[in-house]
């Protein structure tokens, strides 16, 4: 297995308050699951807003790798390659 790829997590506006205002986070992860586990350690507040107590991605959120929903790939086991952009997309209510 090669070096762990470095990927970018894109954090939309409504979730930035949980990660010190960062719009992007750069982390190393082989899979989406690894990326979420990294968040659990490094950005606990953000993680709690993305995953529930059982570790599942909350149902009002979608996680995309580049422009593909992980639901249509391999879920949290989707493999990541260097340069991938993981986007967390919450439903938003304001109007």
């Amino acid at each position: 297995m090669g070096p762990t790829p470095t990927i970018t997590i894109h954090v939309p506006g409504p979730l930035r308050t949980y990660c010190g205002g960062a719009a992007q986070l750069s982390i190393s992860a082989q899979t989406v699951r690894d990326a979420l586990e990294d968040l659990q350690r490094s950005q606990a507040a953000l993680y709690r807003n993305v995953c529930d107590e059982t570790g599942k991605v909350r149902r009002h959120l979608n996680v995309f790798v580049n422009s593909d929903n992980v639901r249509d790939l391999n879920g949290v086991d989707t493999l990541l390659t260097a340069g991938d952009v993981v986007t967390i997309l919450p439903a938003v209510s304001g109007g």
Binding site: G13, H60, V92, S93, G95
Partner: protein, 339 residues
């Protein structure tokens, strides 16, 4: 189309995507805008100026000074008069384009009135500020095959997604359930007027394509925009989910709820209550409540203040209770003062 209409809409007609055939369709189109806040008031103005023949605006709230920063249809006098948004919006659209049939409906969209209010529409625009109503719109639109366009914004961020029932993913394919717990709202996180206008523009652009028969140009995408930090991103919406409760299994629980439970208005320390449909005589109620607290009433709404609570009640019996986020307290206040 007569000569005056041809002149009025000339710049739109010259745009090859619409042309005279497209304008003819728009003049006969019926659109319902659910929610007349920042998104909805932009939709209303844009559609009236574009010559959409019939525009219904549904809103349960009244104009407040804090709305004026981003809700283009309202003015200081509307807030001072405590006008319902639907009434103020109807009046404003009539001034923008007197040939459009603008119809304001002061109501909360519920399973009991959704057929009456949305059933005749060619298209529904989402201008709501809450998930309960969006899931109701989705159930109804998918059930009846009416296109609708989701849009939402908070802070400097917003997103839009068209739903073409039977063709693209519906709201429940993408977000199976509404969020639980508090979400950032325009009250808690603030909102810029440029992001709501931008999201509303994406929605209206798709609406015009659909109404003009160019559904093929509508991209099944989720468009996200951060107008302050970051930019525009377009992500392909997932394909329709065969197991989607709404468009896959055709189960529509949001259409089946009989009367709505009290709804906490997120971030506002307020609860909306409608125990049942009533027909209230506001003048009579004003007389009854005056000995107890401060009362202001017009023909559309009555505001009643007993510190620390402020209650606004509408003629259909719906009330917004400010000063509590506890639905039990709100129900109790409702029962105590309005029966």
């Amino acid at each position: 189309m007569d000569a005056a209409e041809r002149e009025r809409y000339s710049r739109q007609i010259r745009f090859s995507g619409i042309g005279e055939p497209g304008q003819e369709i728009l003049l006969r189109a019926r659109v319902v805008i659910v929610g007349c806040g920042a998104l909805g008031s932009f939709h209303g103005a844009a559609l009236a100026r574009a010559g959409v023949g019939s525009i219904t605006l549904i809103d349960r709230d009244y104009v407040e000074p804090s709305n004026l920063q981003r809700q283009w249809l309202f003015e200081e006098s509307d807030a001072a008069d405590g006008l319902p948004k639907a009434v103020a919006a109807e009046r404003c659209l009539a001034r923008i384009n007197s040939s459009v049939r603008a119809h304001g409906v002061v109501a909360d969209l519920t399973s009991s009135n959704v057929e009456e209010l949305l059933g005749q529409s060619h298209l529904i625009l989402d201008g709501t500020d809450n998930f309960e109503t969006r899931y109701l719109i989705n159930d109804f639109a998918v059930c009846r095959g009416i296109p609708w366009i989701y849009g939402a914004a908070v802070g400097s961020y917003g997103l839009a997604m068209p739903v073409l029932p039977g063709h693209t993913a519906c709201l429940r394919c993408v977000y199976p359930d509404p969020p639980e717990g508090a979400q950032p709202t325009c009250e808690t996180a603030g909102v810029l007027n440029v992001i709501t206008s931008l999201v509303a523009s994406y929605q209206v652009a798709d609406a015009l394509k659909i109404l003009c028969g160019r559904q093929d140009l509508v991209q099944p995408r989720i468009t996200t925009v951060d107008i302050w930090q970051g930019g525009t991103r377009q992500i392909d919406a997932p394909p329709r989910d065969p197991d989607c409760p709404a468009c896959g299994r055709r189960q529509f629980p949001y259409l089946e709820e009989s009367l709505r439970a009290p709804v906490r208005l997120c971030g506002r320390n307020a609860v909306q209550v409608q125990e049942r449909v009533l027909v209230l005589d506001l003048a009579e109620l004003k007389t009854r409540l005056e000995p107890i607290g401060e009362v202001r009433a017009n023909e559309f709404a009555l505001r009643f203040i007993v510190a620390p609570y402020e209650m606004t009640v509408f003629p259909d019996g719906r009330a917004i209770i400010k000063g509590t986020s506890d639905t039990g307290v709100a129900r109790s206040l409702y029962a105590r003062y309005f029966g």
